[in-house]
Amino acid sequence: MRRLALVLLLLLCALPAAAERIVLGLSEDQVALTATFDGRDILIFGAVRREEGPPPEAAPLNVIVTVSGPMRPLTVRRAERRFGIWINASAVRVDQAPSFYAVATTRPLSEILSDTEDLRHSISIPRAIRAVGNEVIDRDSYIEALIRIRTEEGSYQMLEGGVTFTEQTLFRTRVTLPATLTEGRYATRIFLTREGAVVDTFETAISVRKVGIERWLFNLSRREPVQYGVLALLIALAAGWAASAAFQALRG
């Protein structure tokens, strides 16, 4: 903790002056998806840098941290009973939805962020999803279902009160990346708000990528699908032959 404070102090000195600004650190800005990847905690910490003390009459500052995985299109389907069995009957196409999204705040989001600012910066989970759907009438229930399912599997996280903010200056939060992670750039944004309005923003990224054999296999399957398929078959044939030979030797 003391070392962390020291790092922040150095950062504070190095930056140019402004009214109230965010200075940020990340416990890691690279996440490697290795064969043994099983989720990871990312520590996001920072400080508010000020020219002078906070304005005497001013309301307290609040901090919102968002981490967003790569945006991907997807389809939300709804099953209905038809001819006695349950089948997917209707669907809503979602143009862009983050594969992972976490919002951590100092206090309940509705108290520290106005709707207008949420709309402008796309901070809350529903705002982070962009959907156009004209296939069905009640598409809101599909977006709700998307959020519900992703929240249950830990891909969407609402961590109200998850940010510790000491002395209106030092803040830190911990975001848990789940085991099922999509490769890509995880945009990390920090918002400083006062009375619902955004005072300052800061943006950085955590890069999540497959490494080693995982990366090699994935790339091969996408770039050279024929070679990949042949490789899969050769491995299967070799394994089949090896098994047969090994057990024959055992019996013999």
């Binding site: 998806l33 290795t34 064969a35 043994t36 990847f37 099983d38 989720g39 991907r72 299109p73 997807l74 389809t75 939300v76 389907r77 709804r78 099953a79 209905e80 009973r81 006695g84 069995i85 349950w86 089948i87 997917n88 669907a91 594969s99 599909y142 279902a145 998307l146 519900r148 399912i149 992703r150 085991a179 099922t180 992670l181 999509t182 497959k210 054999i213 995982e214 990366r215 296999l217 994935f218 399957s221 996408r222 699908p225 024929v226 990949y228 398929g229 042949v230 490789l231 899969a232 078959l233 491995i235 299967a236 044939l237 394994a239 089949g240 032959w241 098994a243 047969s244 057990f247």
Partner: protein
């Protein structure tokens, strides 16, 4: 021990997958079936995306059936010409099956297709096997001699060909049709199709039981290999790492199963297999009939 699968993009317990492979291998060793019809639904349960489960099972079956066919070749229980005729149909069927699979995947109905196919085929094959096993057991108790094979209508078709190992002189049309049907199933359900092929060869083509398993395994290698390749090329859904775990578990299980299998009487084995097939079928049928826990589902195109 958690393992991150590069294509499925999920982290699963490696020991669990080895165990799954082992369990299915045990059953396949005991009953002489590929076990694809069990492994695919089990992979769904573990959380592998359906498309990856189907494609990877096909890959795993290549390994287990290749291993099995080597043993059959040593014992000369493979009718290669018959296998090739079945295969000609099988490759056509596999290509057709991939087409159907991809068309339905785009409409979000692939889960339904796969589950329905399982319910229909497991249900009918399971009931047939159960009936057959019970009848044999009853007849043996009564002391009656086993029934002789009769002449089939299929023997009247044109394009006759001689199959020496099977001791048959029949039209190539029925084996080709059987091959096409099994090819379609292989692509859609991620199975080898042994559980359809074996009864069809015995009851429809009238092949001697001695060469049935070897010949069906022979043709399954090629059909599943072709399905694997097509899935890899058109969908990129074959997960080599997942396949490898299943193969290792399956190989060990199969050898243990083969030992266990020799201690049980054949009718008893068939009865057990029939009950197992019907149990899987009932489980899948329930998933279609009962309301799902959440009527909504997400489709990310995998």
């Amino acid at each position: 021990m958690q393992l991150y699968l590069p294509i499925a993009e999920v982290s699963v317990n490696a020991i669990l997958l080895l165990g799954l492979g082992g369990l299915v291998g045990l059953l396949s060793g005991m009953f002489g079936v590929g076990g694809g019809f069990l492994i695919t639904p089990l992979l769904f349960l573990v959380g592998i995306p359906p498309a990856v489960a189907v494609a990877t099972s096909a890959n795993q079956i290549v390994a287990s059936s290749f291993s099995a066919v080597l043993a059959h070749l040593r014992r000369r229980t493979v009718d290669i010409p018959m296998g090739l005729v079945l295969l000609a149909g099988g490759l056509v069927g596999s290509a057709l099956g991939i087409g159907i699979f991809n068309a339905l995947r785009a409409r979000g109905q692939v889960d339904l297709l796969v589950t329905l196919s399982y319910v229909v085929f497991l249900g009918s094959v399971g009931s047939l096997m159960l009936w057959e096993a019970l009848r044999t057991t009853l007849r043996e108790r009564a002391g009656a001699p086993p029934q002789r094979r009769r002449h089939f209508w299929v023997h009247a078709l044109p394009l006759k060909m001689r199959f020496r190992v099977s001791g048959l002189y029949i039209s190539v049309i029925p084996p080709v049709v059987v091959g096409v049907a099994v090819g379609i199933l292989s692509a859609i359900m991620g199975v080898g199709g042994g559980f359809i092929l074996v009864p069809a060869m015995i009851y429809l083509l009238g092949m001697p039981t001695r060469v049935v398993v070897g010949t069906s395994t022979f043709q399954i290698i090629f059909v599943t290999a072709f399905s694997t390749l097509l899935h890899a090329i058109t969908n990129g859904t074959v997960d080599i790492l997942l396949a490898l775990l299943l193969i290792v578990g399956g190989v060990i299980g199969a050898q243990a199963g083969a030992r266990l299998g020799t201690r049980l009487r054949p009718e008893r084995l068939r009865l057990l297999l029939a009950l197992l097939v019907l149990a899987v079928c009932a489980q899948l049928a329930l998933s279609l009939l009962l309301p799902p826990a959440d009527p909504y589902s997400l489709d990310t195109g995998r």
